[in-house]
Symmetry: C2
Subunit: 289 residues, 2 copies
């Protein structure tokens, strides 16, 4: 999955639109801090890859969609890190937003990024309005309730948390938005792309659980063993380390097999394989052996 | 401004879409609690009045736009009431959302309502997609940064708060979305409707300041004298009570005069006059004398 600079540029365009003269300076600085420098940008890269696979590489529509997906992801990280949830001190090897600024600013940054995600696609799709309703609905479904990140986070506030559902909403939903959004932005039928997003999302969450259990803070860029410390439901706690890795491998196989006929199917299958190695490198798995 | 039942029904349709089987039950209950029963629904009533004034009464597009504007308003109330900001115990004569549920749920309710506002118009405008980019941009501008509610709230986090700007963003922005959104949903040019939204928004904020200074908790449905207690910049503190009422009258006059030529101009002028009396009734002003 290439196109890193296209993603950073699309994010820069989006952020610049609210980071103008007249914006309260601490809010503007904190929005920028929450978005740059980013992590692996895996969701927007996935979105661009699908659009390219559907025959529209270098598409400004796909780039805007990809950026909006990443903005929603950043928003969820900022709100999840807040004291009332994870109370996380670190994110991407730096103080989390509420530690670097304050809790009020972090609350507003999350709100601003959610709004910005929708503004950003509305701007980009002004000349392709017939595609906009689908894009907004795909972003909304992934971000909100009952099928998105907010609902996933809300399962943490219930006495009984259905693990599969939690994982599907907290991570899977935005991966589905990436594959579906990539297809929609290219004018393709999004339906056959849902499974790829679902499988990759679940696999990514499993890999995250494994890294949280095995990794160090320096490798993770955030506090390690955080899930266990918070008594959070994780795959490793449920399936064991080996069981989790087996499930990860099965999901990545299913992901590859789900890729529908399209101009870039071969290219996408190669990408999924590379991604599997990046997510759970052999060097990490040796620690589990 | 009539159409109360149309607004409640449009809000019900919007909320029902996330309050389905599979939504975490406490989140679903809290979303409903944040939206029903409402306050005066002044912003959505304004939006419908403008659409009717532009020649499209009883328009499902205007009703969806009106509902989305109210959802953004509800979201901002829930987040503003949180402990890190106002720490308000009461809202609409009941415990605020974070008191009735908890802080985590209140954070998520605000997020969910922002997302829902955009989903809701995307659904309604699927068959009128060319109007959707303008609607999304109008909602986003009013809700986000640098020109909307989030930016207004962020001015509270700066050492120096420009009062005019604060008021314009915290209240005026959503009134502008109501007039502009009403015109856009009716397929009319939104430009001549901005001034009406700006003047009404500023007047409404002034009336709110006066009621906060003079009213009782029972009348307000929230804690009285809150602004003064929080050392918040208010018009009453700056202009005095009489000066504030004079400014209010001038704004309502300017609002009436700004109404552009349209099929329902006369009807709209009458509405503005009624609204002025509702916002600052003579009985309240006698207390200030």
């Amino acid at each position: 999955m290439e196109s890193t600079s296209a993603i950073e540029q699309a994010l820069e365009v989006a952020v610049a639109s609210c980071d103008t003269l007249g914006c309260p300076p601490r809010l503007a600085a904190a929005i920028r801090y929450a978005v740059f420098p980013g992590g692996a940008r895996i969701r927007p890269r996935l979105c661009l890859a699908i659009a390219a696979g559907c025959g529209e590489p270098h598409s400004p529509l796909a780039e805007a969609t990809a950026a909006s997906i990443e903005l929603l992801h950043c928003a969820s990280l900022v709100h999840d890190d807040l004291p009332c949830f994870d109370d996380a001190a670190l994110r991407r090897n730096r103080p989390s937003v509420h530690r670097a600024f304050d809790e009020r600013i972090a609350l507003l940054v999350g709100d601003a990024l959610i709004v910005l995600a929708f503004q950003n696609v509305a701007r980009a799709f002004s000349a392709a309005a017939p595609r906009l309703p689908g894009i907004v609905l795909a972003l909304g479904r992934a971000a909100g309730a009952p099928g998105g990140i907010v609902a996933g986070q809300a399962w943490e506030c219930e006495t009984a948390t259905p693990l599969e559902e939690y994982r599907r909403l907290k991570t899977g939903a935005l991966f589905v938005a990436a594959t579906v959004g990539g297809a929609l932005s290219a004018g393709a039928d999004p339906t056959p792309w849902r499974t790829l997003g679902e499988r990759l999302g679940e696999a990514y969450q499993l890999a995250d659980d494994v890294r949280d259990a095995l990794g160090t803070e320096e490798e993770l860029g955030k506090n390690a063993h955080r899930d266990a410390d918070l008594g959070r439901p994780t795959a490793v706690a449920e399936l064991g380390l080996q069981g989790t890795v087996q499930r990860f491998d099965a999901l990545m196989r299913e992901a590859t097999e789900s890729i529908p006929q399209c101009p870039g199917a071969e290219f996408l299958r190669d990408l999924v394989e590379l991604e599997a190695q990046r997510l759970l490198p052999a060097s990490l798995l040796q620690r589990a052996a």
